[in-house]
């Protein structure tokens, strides 16, 4: 038996939801949603759970992760209850639920915490550089580039990277484990053979790599199973760029942050260009969309949406500038921009990866994976 709790709605509004109380349960949203199917019908059920404040049902649900915010539900909602925005805020809410530290919740619901922690993390980087940076040599390499590794030797930075990656993994993995507990373990009495975790694993990989679900967002009602919309392409471009960049700076920093200036066809530069282009295009595209507010999905922006875009934009721009200054042999601009670059990058990753947008990249395929496992287990039963 569940007890109705109207306070939940007020709580959820802090995560960005609004007007969802207006829902009169006609089900139009679910019916126009191209991702909704017989196994997983949403968003109306999630709206209903939110109205009634059924916290347990919400945290056990994978449905918010299945939604990619095409906005059809909000466009056609006869009560203008903004179900899509509710789903978005449920994703924010869920990230805070999975997070045991309580930080995620603070970051979403308090601007002081959001900007405070960004500033603090930036300050940490700044302080580290003030005390630990190498000589700021004006001497250039043979190719005429700046000796960045003298100022910030990649080995030292990589140590920082590993520490950061460790923290990120800790947060993210514990959150995912939490998610696992809520989604899978919640099904009391359901026996899940270990084998299923293996057999269903490919869904995790597939959905992570392709973001296939997003391609099903069918805003024109064409009823095609896959539409390679510009939205999906841009999103995938951005996402893959991010992953490439992340891997390069965390795992191959020595190769990536080099004082060499390779020929432009060198893989290091090509990958760099790809990632930079992807990040820049994506960020600009989403910026423009959020400013124009033409599509349903970009009409409503939570403060964290802007923070994410701004941080990512600044990271990308400063990254590009570092490269330009370095190649053109401008030592001081290179050094300063590099510090700024890390001052933005670090908070961006620390906040976005475990608690915000970037975490969705992990949560979504995991949600599908967990759901598959549970469904498969139920079938066996």
């Amino acid at each position: 038996m569940a007890v109705a709790d109207t306070h939940f709605g007020e709580d959820l509004k802090k995560f960005g939801a609004f007007d969802f109380n207006a829902c009169y349960n006609c089900g139009t949203c679910t019916a126009v949603c191209s991702l909704s199917d017989e196994q997983n019908s949403f968003p109306r059920e999630m709206v209903r759970f939110s109205v009634l404040g059924l916290r347990d049902d919400i945290s056990a649900s994978v449905k918010p992760w299945l939604c990619y915010y095409c906005g059809q539900c909000s466009t056609h909602c006869p009560q203008d209850a903004k179900p899509a925005e509710l789903m978005m805020s449920l994703r924010r809410y869920l990230t805070s639920v999975y997070d045991c530290s309580g930080l995620g919740r603070k970051l979403y619901t308090s601007k002081v915490w959001e900007f405070g922690s960004i500033s603090l993390l930036a300050l940490v980087i700044l302080v580290l550089f003030i005390f630990l940076h190498g000589p700021m040599t004006t001497e250039l390499t043979e190719q005429g580039g700046v000796k960045l590794n003298t100022f910030a030797p990649w080995k030292q930075v990589e140590i920082g990277d590993w520490i950061m990656a460790g923290m990120l993994s800790f947060f993210l993995l514990s959150n995912i484990f939490n998610m696992y507990l809520k989604i899978v373990r919640k099904n009391e009495g359901l026996k899940i053979p270990l084998k299923l975790y293996v057999t269903e694993f490919y869904h995790l990989v597939l959905h992570f790599a392709t973001q296939k679900q997003l391609s099903k967002c069918d805003t024109l009602g064409t009823r095609k199973k896959f539409t390679f919309s510009s939205y999906w392409i841009i999103h995938w471009f951005l996402m893959s760029s991010y992953v490439v960049m992340f891997i390069m700076i965390v795992f191959f920093l020595g190769w990536f942050q080099t004082d060499n200036i390779y020929h432009w066809t060198h893989p290091q530069r090509l990958l760099g260009y790809y990632a930079t282009a992807g990040l820049l295009t994506g960020v600009v595209w989403f910026f423009v969309a959020r400013f124009r507010k033409r599509d349903e999905k970009s009409k409503h922006s939570h403060i964290t949406d802007w923070t994410f875009l701004v941080l990512l934009f600044l990271t990308t721009v400063t990254g590009i500038l570092v490269q330009i200054f370095r190649i053109n042999g401008m030592p001081y601009p290179t050094y300063y921009t590099y510090v700024i670059h890390l001052m933005v990058l670090f908070p961006m990753l620390m906040i976005e990866v475990p608690f915000s947008k970037w975490s969705h990249l992990a949560y979504r395929p995991f949600a599908i994976y967990f759901d598959r496992v549970v469904q498969a287990a139920k079938k066996i039963k």
Binding site: M1, A2, A4, D19, A22, Y24, E45, L52
Partner: protein, 667 residues
């Protein structure tokens, strides 16, 4: 004897001709005795066919017509009018019902239907052959209307009739006017209160010299008929002089030692034996409730306006038409229905409306603060007829449960309750702090523009739950806490529970429990026990009793606007009965054959309308019929031992030839 007849057989656009071979019917009757012409027609009721009939009658000098079409309930008057326009007396037209009673009833048997149609048309021809020209009976109609019930409908109709120049007597059983509306505070879709509305109408009534308002007045007898009703009205005195001193009266009220439950507040409060409902109640002076008064004389000592010498009086009112606006009763749940009278925090919607009206600043009931309110909808409405199980009642030491036996006799939807309760919930939320509303519904019915209120309440965060038809919500009382449980349709049948400080049973409208006025006027009631109109679509305010109109919630659940609409409609109808000063009545009445009558008095006993009188004529005592009172029911016919009474148009000869025509085999 009519000998030149026209017969029209209607296809009714296939309604008839799909099952009845109308051409065959035509062929079978066109050579009947006296039939001059027989035609079939697509729509007998259409203007063109009507014109054609007029033309036929005129040019062929027809002296009788038969129309075989749909039920005479629909088109009797139409074709009577056709006859009249053609200069043929309307009683020389006879109707044969070959749709409702032939083509539709026997659509499974086409030859049978055709044969039956032939029989019915022949029987109609037999009747019209004997039909006589009859002239309507003209009787005077008194230009005055009595309105029973001074609620919103009655008051509004009174003003309208008065403005049309018709004197009105407005009869109210209570000592104050305004009916149910006076009990409501803010009214939905406007920002007026019930009291303001009643005050406004009362002032309007007071301004009009041709309205006579009687309060504390009850109709005890009715005689007469359309155009000339005589009502006997018993008036209970107020025991207070009309020109009274309000200041002293208040002191007198304070001094009264009697406390009785206050009906105005649906018994959630008490009042004194000398009382008024609220400061600006109309008429604006109190009344002594003589039934509960102990005659202690305390009030009399304080206030000189108290006058125990006043006596009950009876007045006689003569009017041409009566307009019924007797209103409704709120449904009273039975004991234990959703915990009513079983748990102390369960109230009905009308009681709840009084509670919010009486509370200031903070919502409390019986001394407890109210924050969470559960509204249970459709209590006493939309019940299925019997069958379901009785409420599960597991009364353990400190846990009690109450639900509802969903069987009941009120199958109808009470129409106003959804909107009314949603409006009350919104108002409660606006007026008091920290209120959460939980609505336990069976599907919200805020029709029309009222939908906006539903949207508003949703946006304000009210929670709506909907139960399955066979699974009503239940109320559990455990350790002094009340919980309402429901299997919610909209949450995929999850069981949802709500902790409630107050449970409001959204009770619907039921007909007045006291139907004495209705039976006095012999008003028929429908399946739902509300007064029945003649025709729901076309004559929604008229009744089968000539001269009596109905309006407002006595006819069925209505909100204020709808009640007033029907009141104004009824005013127009009542006005049309009396505006001309005279009326034409149907000439189908009983007649006595003076040569046969030997006066035994049996017909006089049989007549329910006192229409039979004994007179001496030519040295012989015989019965005569009062034409304007006789309704033509014919109850006097079979009792006559010498068969001296006939009903016009139903004479033995007419009946017998009709039977002959029906019995005759078709060649």
């Amino acid at each position: 004897m009519n000998r030149k007849l026209g017969v029209y057989i209607c296809h009714c656009g296939g309604n008839i001709s799909d099952y009845v071979d109308v051409e065959k019917v035509k062929a079978a009757v066109e050579h009947e005795e006296g039939v001059f012409l027989a035609r079939t027609t697509m729509f007998a009721c259409s203007d063109a066919t009507q014109k054609e009939m007029v033309e036929d009658i005129r040019s062929n000098q027809l002296d009788g017509i038969v129309v075989a079409s749909c039920s005479p309930k629909l088109h009797l008057t139409t074709f009577r009018a056709v006859s009249e326009r053609a200069g043929l007396n309307k009683y020389n037209y006879v109707h044969a019902n070959i749709r409702e009673q032939v083509s539709w009833a026997h659509s499974d048997n086409k030859p049978g239907a055709t044969e039956k149609a032939i029989h019915l048309v022949r029987s109609a021809i037999a009747k019209v052959r004997l039909a006589q020209s009859l002239e309507p009976i003209t009787i005077p109609s008194r230009k005055a209307v009595a309105i029973i019930g001074a609620g919103i409908s009655g008051m509004r109709a009174a003003i309208e009739l008065a403005d049309m120049g018709c004197p009105v007597t407005l009869i109210e059983r209570e000592h104050f006017v305004g009916g149910r509306v006076a009990q409501w505070d803010l009214l939905f879709t406007t920002d007026q209160t019930g009291k303001e509305l009643v005050t406004r109408l009362y002032d309007d009534i007071a301004k009009r010299s041709n309205i006579r308002l009687l309060t504390g007045a009850e109709v005890t007898a009715n005689s007469g008929n359309i155009g000339d009703f005589t009502l006997k009205v018993k008036i209970t005195p107020r025991y207070i002089l009309e020109k009274c001193d309000q200041g002293n009266l208040q002191k007198a009220i304070d001094a009264c030692p009697v406390e009785v439950p206050d009906e105005f507040n649906f018994k959630i409060t008490t009042r004194k034996a000398i009382y008024h409902n609220f400061p600006s109640e109309h008429p604006q002076y109190p009344v002594i409730d003589i039934k509960n008064c102990t005659r202690c004389g305390e009030c009399e000592k304080i206030c000189g306006s108290v006058d125990f010498t006043q006596e009950e009086t009876t007045v006689e009112i003569k009017v041409g038409s009566v307009l019924m606006a007797t209103g409704f009763d709120p449904y009273t749940p039975s004991e234990g229905e959703f915990g009513y009278l079983q748990f102390d925090n369960v109230v009905t919607l009308p009681q709840f409306k009084r509670i919010i009206d009486l509370c200031e600043g903070k919502l409390t009931f019986k001394g407890k603060d109210i924050h969470n309110i559960a509204y249970i909808y459709c209590v006493g409405s939309r019940q299925v007829e019997a069958g379901a199980n009785a409420p599960v009642s597991q009364a353990t030491e400190n846990r009690e449960e109450a639900s509802r036996d969903i069987s009941g006799e009120n199958r109808y939807c009470s129409r106003y309750c959804c909107t009314s309760v949603i409006h009350s919930a919104i108002e409660t939320k606006k007026r008091f702090k920290g209120i959460t509303n939980y609505h336990f519904t069976r599907g919200i019915r805020t029709y029309g523009k009222q939908e906006l209120l539903y949207s508003e309440s949703l946006s304000m965060g009210d929670i709506y739950l909907q139960s399955y038809e066979d699974d009503p919500p239940s109320i559990i009382r455990e350790n002094g806490k009340t919980t309402v449980k429901i299997n919610d349709i909209m949450t995929g049948r999850k069981e949802i529970s709500v902790n409630a400080d107050l449970v409001v049973l959204v009770t619907g409208m039921v007909p007045r429990s006291d139907n004495s006025v209705g039976s006095l006027f012999k008003l028929p009631r429908g399946r739902d026990k509300f007064f029945n109109e003649i025709h729901m679509k076309l004559r929604p305010v008229e009744t089968v009793i000539d001269g009596i109109t109905i309006c407002g919630a006595c006819q069925g659940p209505k909100n204020i606007t709808e009640s007033v609409c029907s009141a104004l409609s009824a005013a127009t109808k009542s006005f049309s009965y009396v505006s001309k000063g005279e009326l034409e009545l149907e000439p189908i009445i009983a007649r006595v054959d003076a040569t046969l009558c030997t006066w035994c008095g049996k017909c006089m006993e049989a007549c329910p309308f006192d229409a039979v009188k004994k007179v001496s004529e030519a040295g012989k005592e015989i019965a005569v019929i009062n034409n304007s009172v006789c309704k033509g029911c014919g109850m006097c016919l079979p009792v006559c031992p010498v068969n001296a009474i006939d009903l016009v148009a139903y004479s033995d000869q007419e009946m017998e030839t009709m039977i002959n025509a029906l019995a005759e085999d078709i060649k």
